[in-house]
Subunit: 440 residues, 2 copies
């Protein structure tokens, strides 16, 4: 059975007309002979509206009851999607997370999927119907409704694709993953393919296309993922496999040569905290980051450097919006650990270059720094991973930095991509035909 | 365990402030040492809004999917009620119909309750918590969500009370059942007690206090029901049993003397159809009412009278709003059965006097007709049951007819009631104390 799980986000199903456009994507897949499982998020701002409703009666809503409330958002969407499909003559059956037997742990608000019993879904698919499943939600062994937290619907879709042995299509209001945000760099190109690791790094550094949690799961279970535009038609059967050049495939790295840099990501609103002249005794790092974690204030990159004999500077970045709440805590930490000085900046951005080719190609960093220097961008901090280089720059330099890196690595050239044949590599779930990707 | 099931309708929980007022009713019951199970309907117009949403994508929504959609209305309410209670420091847990194991048949849109497994509810109650349960919904054996149709939430509440061996409080935006609609007859008195049968007849004839389906169930399982105002405080422990004079008890008839007439109900917007000069052959009645039933046009009272040798007149009433749709069908029926004439009126009302005392007291009908004659009201048609007399009158006479009957049977006198001790009669679930009712 050739199964595709099609996931539509909240902005893709914000009203009746948008449901219809999404339903056309389902109809296209059916015409191509595929069995379709649809995963939907809550309509538009429904989740935020429900949170506001809860907060109208209590300041800090109980997490179980909030999940009970929020789960109605996706339940409305699945019924609406099933009704829309039926209106187009397509046999569809909606299933809540509980009905689809998506069993989670009991961590309300950010539950993890434990297991999925796909019998009911398979019955629907085998009878030639479309199963429309609520994203973002599951049920505990004791029958309590849970929500999966951020990235939940993407995760539901990938988990179902993994379990059904199918592939996953993530529909967005963009038509794929780009070498850079086209609003920042107008020559940005859509990537035909991107690797799981590149997607993970890009997502962690601010790209909002597919949630990293879902990419992690896709990587673990080798689920081929494609990012597509929810409201744009595609071609027929011939164009639905790897030779289809619409959207962006997310898959494993192939043995073919990787680009050193496949995309450049700009993250604005970065705050930076520097604790200077800290005596480096055992455990001092946990004294810094423990209180921030306890206050649920997420920290991004961390840099530690020497500042003299047995003295260090600890610098970290965090969302600017968290900085106000964090400031008194930071000053208390600085006092407790005896830091010589505290410096807090809030006018910064992070520019990240991501590319699986960095693993094997030398000189990528120097080429990048040369580009930034040529553009007159001063680099405030640097952090790297195996396939990513991130630079903290002042806000005013952010766009210029992206453009300089984009140009230096020739990302404005068409047919950019880093994975030769994601789908074929993922275990032959799709036909492998010579096509655009193979021709690179 | 002294259990009370408290049911709050949609208009009682239309916004955050109203949830708070209802939660105060729960707090009162807890203070009185009772175990409380709450049943709620969807907030305000939520159900109608969801139906409109479904109709924005398809004209005749599939019934299973519509139930999946509508069930979210009550799910929102249970979470909101549980959160409101928690905000007041009351331990509460919400349960959907499925979570409360309210198993129904598979007739989507108007499912019937098959069984309730109260284990989860009992766990919550035994742990000292409040179980907040979604009215109007259940789940089939195969896990599909159903709705119970009209009167569904009242029915959920009574069914739970029956199963838990408790009593049922139906909260409304009125403080009980009245001898007549106070807008029609300003001297109308709140009834302290009314029998199941009287309630059924009144509900069938237009009273909208408790749905007849729920009253039927209450009667079958001897569940004591009390109708109360959702937003008005009551007293403490001493006033929560039969001696409590707030609201209206609905219960079995006692052995004590019944009032001949306990209430007068006015139903406006009555249409009347008369098929005259019909040859009375076997099965002619089904030729009249079959096509109307097939078109889902409900008929109320039916009168058949002789119009000559083997010739009859068939007259029936129906809602005026259905009359337009029914008219072409009626003319086709008249043609098919060879009726000599058809007469359709749409300016009529039904005035009904209901009282369990009619079973035993003679002369009630003549006293009623005398009152109408004295008020100059012309009676167009009469139908009766064992405990009800209904007269069809022209709209303009409706209010005057109600007032005349109300006066003739002294219903303006306080402490009107027909059931001496509904709660005590229903199996000693409540303490029986001398009080207002016993003094009558």
């Amino acid at each position: 059975m050739n199964v595709v799980v099609q996931k539509f986000g909240g902005s893709s199903v914000a009203d009746a007309e948008k449901f219809r456009l999404c339903a056309e994507r389902v109809a296209e897949a059916i015409s191509a002979g595929e069995r379709v499982c649809v995963v939907v998020s809550a309509m538009g701002d429904a989740t935020d509206d429900l949170i506001s409703l809860a907060e109208s009666v209590i300041d800090s809503p109980d997490k179980r009851e909030l999940d009970q409330l929020l789960a109605t958002g996706e339940q409305v969407s699945i019924a609406m999607m099933a009704l829309t499909l039926k209106g187009m003559g397509i046999n569809a059956t909606s299933l809540t997370g509980a009905q689809a037997a998506i069993v989670t742990d009991g961590v309300f608000g950010r539950a993890g999927i434990v297991s999925i019993d796909t019998r009911r879904v398979n019955q629907i698919l085998e009878a030639g119907g479309v199963a429309v499943i609520a994203g973002f939600q599951g049920v505990t062994e004791t029958g309590d409704i849970t929500t999966l937290g951020r990235g939940g619907s993407d995760t539901t879709a990938v988990a179902l694709a993994a379990k059904l042995g199918g592939r996953c299509e993530i529909f967005k209001d963009v038509d794929g993953v780009y070498t850079a945000d086209p609003r920042v760099e107008p020559t940005a190109q859509r990537l035909n393919t991107v690797s799981y690791d590149e997607m993970l790094e890009a997502a962690a550094m601010g790209s909002q296309v597919v949630h990293p949690r879902a990419v992690e799961m896709a990587k673990r279970f080798s689920v081929p993922v494609r990012v597509l535009h929810s409201h744009r038609p595609r071609g027929g059967r011939a164009q639905r496999d790897q030779s289809d050049s619409t959207g962006t495939w997310v898959g494993p790295e192939s043995g073919m040569e990787m680009r050193a840099v496949s995309s450049v990501v700009l993250k604005k609103n970065v705050g930076r905290v520097s604790l200077r002249g800290v005596v480096n005794r055992t455990g001092v790092q946990s004294e810094v980051f423990g209180p921030l974690a306890a206050a649920h204030l997420p920290v991004d990159d961390i840099i530690q450097e020497d500042d003299g004999p047995n003295t260090i500077n600890v610098t970290f970045t965090m969302d600017r919006k968290d900085l106000k709440e964090a400031t008194p805590i930071i000053h208390r930490i600085a006092h407790d650990i005896g830091a010589a000085a505290v410096r807090i900046d809030n006018g910064l951005s992070t520019v990240s270059a991501v590319g699986a080719g960095m693993r094997t190609q030398a000189g990528v960093a120097s080429r990048l720094f040369e580009a930034l220097a040529g553009a007159g961008v001063k680099v405030e901090n640097i952090t790297t991973s195996e396939i990513r280089i991130s630079c903290v720059v002042v806000d005013a330099d952010g766009q210029r930095a992206v453009q300089a890196i984009h140009r230096a690595f020739n990302l404005h050239e068409p047919t950019a991509g880093t994975v030769a044949d994601a789908a074929a590599a993922a275990g032959g779930l799709l036909e492998s035909k010579p096509g655009v990707a193979a021709a690179r």
